[in-house]
């Protein structure tokens, strides 16, 4: 169970940083920097540059993602932006537009 949850009616405009998992059900604009995992759930909307270890996206993300481990685009997610990570998974049904860099 993740400690930090941004609820579905919450809007954050700014920067979020930290050392723990972050679950986003609401809206975040700006920048996200984590040392753990980011989960963007189905109701979640992120318009931000993201730097994390792992990212799982089921909602909508606009922005560039840099992950040290893995980025997973789940079915029904919408992602626009560039992804840079050693492991990138794109599920059937996911919508994605952008560049992928696995180097």
């Amino acid at each position: 169970m993740a400690n930090t949850v941004i609820g579905s009616s919450i809007v954050i405009d700014g920067e979020i940083s930290g050392d723990e998992d972050l679950v986003i059900q609401g809206t975040v604009k700006g920048k996200i920097a984590l040392k753990q995992s980011l989960f963007v759930e189905g109701t979640g909307t992120v318009e931000a540059d993201i730097q994390t270890q792992n990212v799982e996206i089921a909602g909508a993300v606009t922005g560039n993602i840099t992950a040290t481990d893995k980025v997973e685009l789940k079915a029904n997610c919408r992602m626009v932006g560039d992804i840079k990570a050693p492991r990138i998974l794109i599920a059937d049904g996911a919508s994605f537009k952008g560049n992928v860099d696995m180097d």
Partner: protein, 200 residues
């Protein structure tokens, strides 16, 4: 607590504006502004440096900033707060730490705001007075010192130019005592050159 779906965890720092229609539980750090239509809980580990607009606020951690609540603000035993509170109901329990202004709405007419501005204004003129002479004094000295230094440098140049012109007319005239009194400082140079003219 499961319904209070938004939690800012202990290691999380949020810098910016946070708004929403649900309860917010802060264990980490939030800087900027918070605007909620429900309840804000700042837990013991939570640090908020923000202007807060909520319905209810329960503070067990640290809050620096102003809180405006439509219902109530409660500072618990562990709570520490610096800032102004505006709410119809304000609860500060024993052990809580608070510094700031409180406005419960109904007592607005009794609040004299004049004492605070007067205290702030009094030190300002004294600071301004001490600062002005300190700045004006050095600036007044600086322009005067370079001016005399340039004047003597220009002085000897015209005398040297006059000296070579003087010797030729003097020998034919034969009046040695007439030349020395005109330019006293140029006499020494003029005298040496007269000796050279005589040898030729």
């Amino acid at each position: 607590m499961a319904d209070t779906s938004t939690i800012i965890g202990e290691t999380i720092l949020v810098n910016g504006n946070l708004s929403g229609d649900e309860d917010l539980l802060i264990l980490g750090k939030v800087e900027g502004s918070i605007s909620l239509t429900k309840t804000l809980h700042v837990q013991e580990s939570g640090v908020v440096k923000a202007n807060v607009q909520v319905k209810n606020a329960i503070i067990s951690g640290i809050v620096v900033g102003n809180i405006s609540a439509s219902d109530s603000v409660e500072i618990t035993e562990q709570g520490r707060m610096v800032g102004d509170i505006k709410a119809p109901r304000i609860i500060i329990v024993e052990g809580a730490s608070f510094r700031g202004h409180i406005d419960m709405g109904d007592l607005e007419a009794q609040r004299p705001s004049s004492p605070l501005p007067i205290r702030n204004e009094s030190p300002r003129p004294t600071l301004a007075r001490t600062a002005r002479p300190g700045l004006s004094a050095p600036s007044a000295f600086r322009p005067t010192t370079p001016a005399p230094a340039k004047a003597p440098a220009k002085g000897p140049e015209p005398t040297k130019a006059e000296a070579p012109k003087a010797p030729p007319p003097r020998p034919p005239a034969g009046k040695a005592p007439v030349a020395p009194p005109r330019p006293p400082p140029a006499v020494v140079t003029a005298g040496k050159k007269k000796v050279v003219v005589k040898k030729s």
